[in-house]
């Protein structure tokens, strides 16, 4: 949650400013710069590689030489994990939670942002500030009473119990990012649509949604990754191992098989793979959004 919060505020802070493209050809700079970049990259990805490569070793290899290279490479750990129902259950749960959260946050967020951006009524500035104030309540602060609420609603040990709060906590960022997008749609379009007989709602579905797609995708990604990586909420809400999402799955697996380090590493690297793939697919939206490349 705090992650998405940070990212979204960053987009807000940076988004409106221009981006300076490097002119014409990019030259090879000084070797020192590459050296520093190389050091930074090494530091950043070594722990990730440690997890992935460690999964290709056996426990005896790890015990005799914890920092060694796989010799020989074993894929047994990975096939074990991929063959276990535990892993796939967590994967399916994580997917359901993330997709549900993303859809809910995007749909409700677009609707509310549309009202704030394009309707004229008394309390709209208040409504905006109200949602924006939600950023002052990170999930850490609300989790204890939230757990009680979820329990009273009978949603403990159900994926709905994490999807609904996640939607609610994703709404502030979603709305803050989307409102400028929706506001930027030219008013002439709305007039033209109105003259052609489209109602406001018709305009909403046929024009607003397609035109604000870049913003919608950005908030969708943020909600998805936030849910996929979410730890605290599932930790409070889900006790039943058959409902565990991947983060809880990793934690559970690593305490259950604490002596089987190799398998824990395999499980851990398999569980981060979807996030990494997803990230590299949409990397330009996330990093690009941060550097102000997202139009709007």
């Amino acid at each position: 949650m705090t992650d998405t919060l940070k990212t979204s505020v960053a987009i807000q802070a940076i988004g409106p400013r221009g981006r300076r493209r490097s002119p014409s050809g990019v030259r090879w700079g000084s070797p020192g710069v590459y050296l520093v970049a190389l050091i930074l990259i090494t530091v950043c990805i070594t722990p990730i590689l440690y997890i992935i490569i460690g999964g290709f070793r056996t426990n005896s290899q790890i015990t005799t030489d914890p920092s060694g290279w796989p010799a020989p490479w074993e894929i047994g750990n990975y096939t074990d994990v991929l063959g276990s129902s535990e892993f796939w259950t967590a994967m399916v749960n994580s997917t359901i939670a993330a997709v549900g959260t993303t859809l809910g946050a995007v749909i409700l967020g677009v609707m509310a942002s549309y009202v704030i951006a394009r309707y004229d009524f008394g309390g709209k500035a208040i409504m905006y500030s109200f949602f924006a104030a939600g950023l002052m309540f990170p999930i850490t602060v609300a989790i204890t009473p939230l757990y009680l609420l979820i329990r009273n609603l009978g949603l403990v040990n159900s994926l709905g119990g994490i999807i609904l709060p996640q939607i609610a906590f994703a709404l502030p960022t979603t709305i803050i990012i989307l409102v400028p997008f929706l506001r930027a749609i030219p008013k002439e379009l709305e007039e033209a649509a109105s003259i052609d007989g489209a109602s406001r709602l018709g305009f909403f579905w046929r024009m607003v949604i397609p035109l604000s797609l870049p913003g919608v995708i950005t908030v969708g990604i943020l909600a998805f990754i936030g849910s996929w990586n979410g730890y605290m909420l599932p930790l409070f809400i889900l006790n039943d191992a058959s409902l565990f999402t991947l983060p809880l799955g990793v934690q559970n697996f690593s305490s259950q098989y604490s002596v089987d380090t190799a398998r824990v590493l395999a499980y851990t690297s398999l569980s981060m793979l979807p996030a990494l793939i997803f990230f590299s697919m949409f990397e330009r939206r996330i990093v690009g959004g941060l550097t102000g490349a997202v139009k709007g």
């Binding site: 940070k6 505020v9 960053a10 807000q12 802070a13 221009g18 300076r20 490097s22 990019v26 030259r27 000084s30 710069v33 970049a37 930074l40 990259i41 530091v43 990805i45 722990p47 990730i48 997890i51 914890p66 920092s67 509310a112 009202v115 309707y119 004229d120 009524f121 709209k124 500035a125 949602f131 939600g134 950023l135 309540f137 850490t140 602060v141 609300a142 204890t144 009473p145 757990y147 009680l148 329990r151 609904l164 939607i167 906590f169 709404l171 506001r183 008013k187 709602l201 990586n229 730890y231 930790l235 409070f236 990793v250 590493l265 851990t268 569980s271 981060m272 990230f279 550097t291 102000g292």
Partner: protein
């Protein structure tokens, strides 16, 4: 919360009015009906979001303030009103005070460790070099990975018979071997290294973004005046990066105060306090949720919120205010001031 929101909310009504008058100029069928229809549409569109937001964000936080005055195991309706006892108990508890201390240590160390490193790396990556986008993706990767994965991976690397100690042995630095996680003298530094590793990418990307909004002409002018690379970074980049740095610092401070995931995953419920890495949030989880004392847990939540709020307000009052002023009085002045 931050300046950007404040700015946006202040521009919201001005722009919307324009849309509203345009709407009036569009021919409508009946003067009264659309008004009701508009209200209906507003309710239909904004209603669900408002409902879920109030229900799951605002309402629980308000209930926390209420529950915090009771001694309560979380079942039924709280009846045992204890006034401010929970708060008194909390403030007298050395474990809680230690956790608050750890939180503030993390706040300060995060700023001191991540800030300079991030600015330095962003400066170097801001050069026109090949593969810049690949570099960005790679340094951003740790930020995207789940805290659980980070915690599990690092705790395996740092355990006594883990990869780090083994590596130190191999390169002949066996003397530096340590009990990285369990030793209270070192645990906090291990945590700081992991936090730096996890969040430095975010800081670098943010600083890079800030640097790219600085006009190239300033550097050209400085070069003509004979300023070298470091001189112009010091006199142009750093001052103009001010707003970015201050926003990053704000996010970092709030994040440090709320820290839970990494500590709970690596140190678990019982070791965190003795290893000197417990935070307010892990304290709340252990003494509220796991202990089943929900009145007390809610009081801790309220305290956590109040501390964050006070820090946020003080920061906004004394640090961010400059940016808001700058934004209101025009940015051009800023460039000339230095």
């Amino acid at each position: 919360m931050t300046e950007s929101q404040a700015l946006m909310s202040s521009t919201a009504p001005a722009r919307s009015n324009r849309v509203g008058t345009d709407r009036a100029s569009v021919p409508t069928r009946a003067p009264r009906r659309p008004d009701w229809r508009k209200r209906g549409e507003i309710a239909l569109l904004a209603g669900p979001a408002l409902l879920i937001f109030v229900g799951f964000v605002i309402f629980p936080v308000m209930m926390a303030a209420f529950y915090g005055f009771f001694k309560w195991n979380g079942y039924g309706w709280p009846t045992e009103f204890v006034g401010l006892d929970n708060y008194a108990l909390m403030l007298q508890d050395d474990t809680f005070r230690a956790a608050v201390g750890h939180n503030f240590t993390i706040v300060v160390l995060s700023l001191l460790m991540q800030g300079p490193i991030a600015i330095l790396f962003a400066l170097l990556l801001n050069q026109k070099i090949r593969g810049r986008s690949v570099i960005r993706v790679l340094i951003f990767a740790p930020y995207v990975i789940a805290e659980v994965v980070v915690g599990t991976g690092w705790s395996l690397m740092l355990q006594d018979a883990g990869a780090l100690n083994s590596l130190l042995e191999k390169v002949g630095l066996g003397a530096l071997q340590n009990s990285w996680i369990a030793d209270p003298a070192i645990a906090m530094w291990s945590l700081m290294i992991i936090i730096t590793w996890k969040y430095i990418g975010f800081a670098v990307i943010l600083m890079l973004a800030g640097m790219q909004s600085i006009p190239e002409e300033l550097y050209e002018a400085a070069a003509i005046d004979g300023a070298g690379f470091w001189k112009s970074q010091w006199s142009i980049t750093l001052p103009l990066l001010g707003p970015t740095i201050r926003i990053w610092a704000f996010l970092s401070i709030i994040g440090s105060l709320q820290l839970f995931d990494l500590v709970n995953i690596i140190w678990g419920q019982y070791i965190a306090a003795t290893a000197g890495t417990s935070t307010m949030a892990t304290y709340m989880y252990q003494n509220g949720h796991l202990a089943g004392s929900y009145g007390y847990g809610n009081a801790v939540a309220v305290m956590l919120f109040l501390i964050s709020l006070v820090v946020a307000l003080v920061y906004q009052r004394f640090v961010l205010r400059r940016d808001t002023e700058g934004a209101l009085t025009g940015d051009s002045r800023k460039g000339r001031r230095r």
